[in-house]
Amino acid sequence: MPDLGIEVLFKGTNMLRLLQGLWVAMRISLISIAVSIPLGIIVGALMTVKNMAVKAVSKVYLEVIRIMPQLVLLFLVYFGTTRAMGINLSGELASIIVFVLWGTAEMGDLVRGALISIPKHQYESSQALGLTKSQTYLYIIIPQTLRRLLPLSINLITRMIKTTSLVLMIGVVEMLKVAQQIIEANRMSSPNAAFGVFLVVFVLYFLACWPISMLARYLEKKWS
């Protein structure tokens, strides 16, 4: 058994701090997810609208967010707002804003994809059955869309949780930063601690994302 240096986690309050870091990461991602899913559904629905102006605006929004690395968005929102408007956002709020912008864009695109993947005959058949437009959406289109959307949005959600590791660049001390702090503080006494600490970080990220995957699998089974 190689020396993994896991013992550094049991010094002082190290493990507690690591878990607090995980909580910070989860808080940022869960709030962002909760806000961006409804917004994403609206944006996604807007993307399927025939109006050219609406389409163009949403397309530009999506592409800008998708092309820009999240790190740049974080810098722009955190430091840019102070420079431009003198507003002093906290690092955590800036992170949430960026994650909502990003989540809404990607979620919107997923919703758009799911909506247009519903074959036209579904709409036509429900019309033939005499359903109104809102009934068509409520009973026919939305349930099918949700089923198609589920695996894709789970992918997005877990990606958002993992991307919180970038917020350390704007001074938010989350799990990865705490891990680095612990490793560096013990750099001299246990130089191998990096392996052990990152192994624990891996397990914690896994434990955070695993229930979400489980929930998704359960829902997929239930809805099929």
């Binding site: 550094v8 010094k11 002082g12 309050t13 190290n14 701090r17 050219m52 102006a53 389409k55 163009a56 605006v57 397309k59 530009v60 592409e63 800008v64 092309i67 820009m68 690395p69 790190l71 740049v72 810098f75 722009l76 430091f79 840019g80 102070t82 420079r83 431009a84 408007m85 003198g86 002093n88 350390l168 660049m169 704007i170 001074g171 001390v173 930063k177 680095q180 702090q181 612990i182 490793i183 560096e184 503080a185 013990n186 750099r187 001299m188 130089p191 990096a194």
Partner: protein, 307 residues
């Protein structure tokens, strides 16, 4: 349809511009020391371009800090033994020891903000911290963006090698031998521009560079002299053959450009603290375990006066 095309062209151009500035940005964050100044100014240009110039002072004056009761100090939280967080979650280290004293003498609480090498300038330029005490090496490029106070530490490059083949000069280099450097450090920049013929082995992190050097892949390892000294003291069989290479730089506190009240106060404070040999006490409290007493006089700058 024509309109849509115009929209898309416009949007894509905008996106491309952003993406290009973005590339410079993310490249910068992965590299440490050397290129930060350039990267931060690039980022700030990008931010400035998107915003109207704000002429209001972004920093807090000395009186405003006193009134608020807390001073925001940017420090490293993962650079043992200069600025790190101990197992109880408390900030510790050479920089932090000084920061605590500054706050105490000002009669305010110290609020530590964890900064990264690449965002230190940005923090000052947006006034999100009042002072940076994050092992900030004074360079000309940085001095155009922030105001440096008097120095409190010396820093230079050093080269460590094995005891059986101590390297004390980089002249007449054998082209078959290589030197290990960590990417993005001042050591890399210095060797590339001053000794272009010496082959370099580059590593991304301290840990990998150390591993490679100990396994004998190179005859020498160049890094900040504080780092190589610490390495040679903790590992048997290695000698720092070149303890000071290149230009001797200093480490100093930095404040937002133009914040003269705070700058003057810190300068006065550094001078006064010199009378009680404060930085020697700081060294003995925080760096002695790592560097031993041998390097105390060469590393510490007392009262802001470099020899």
């Amino acid at each position: 349809m024509k309109n849509l095309k115009k929209f898309l062209t416009l949007g894509l151009t905008a996106a491309l511009t952003l993406a290009l500035t973005a590339c410079g940005q993310s490249a910068a964050t992965s590299s440490a020391e050397g290129s930060q100044a350039a990267a931060s100014s690039q980022a700030s240009e990008a931010a400035e371009a998107s915003a109207a110039e704000d002429t209001n002072a972004i920093y807090r004056t000395l009186d405003e800090i006193k009134e608020s009761g807390t001073i925001n100090i940017g420090v490293f939280s993962d650079k043992n033994p200069f600025g790190y967080v101990d197992e109880n979650g408390e900030y510790q280290g050479y920089d932090v020891y000084f920061a605590n004293r500054l706050a105490k003498n000002l009669g305010v609480e110290a609020n530590f903000v964890s900064t990264e090498a690449a965002n230190r300038i940005e923090y000052l330029q947006t006034g999100k911290v009042d002072v940076i005490l994050a092992n900030f090496t004074v360079t000309e490029e940085r001095a155009q963006e922030v105001d440096f106070a008097l120095p409190y530490m010396n820093v230079a490059l050093g080269v460590v090698s094995r005891n059986d083949k101590v390297i004390d000069s980089l002249d007449n280099w054998n082209p078959d031998d290589s030197i290990i450097v960590i990417s993005g450090t001042t050591a890399e920049t210095y060797l590339t521009s001053n000794y272009p013929d010496i082959p370099l082995q580059k590593f991304d992190s301290y840990a990998t560079a150390k591993e490679a050097f100990q396994n004998g892949t190179s005859v020498a390892w160049a890094n900040d002299n504080t780092e190589v000294i610490a390495f040679s003291l903790q590992n048997e069989g290695y000698t720092v053959g070149i303890p000071s290479l290149g230009s001797a730089d200093t480490i100093a506190p930095a404040v937002s450009k133009g914040n003269t009240t705070l700058l003057d106060w810190i300068n006065e404070e550094i001078k006064t603290l010199g009378q009680e040999n404060f930085f020697h006490a700081d060294y003995e409290a925080t760096l002695l375990d790592t560097y031993g007493s041998e390097y105390e006089d060469s590393l510490v700058v007392e009262g802001g006066e470099t020899k």
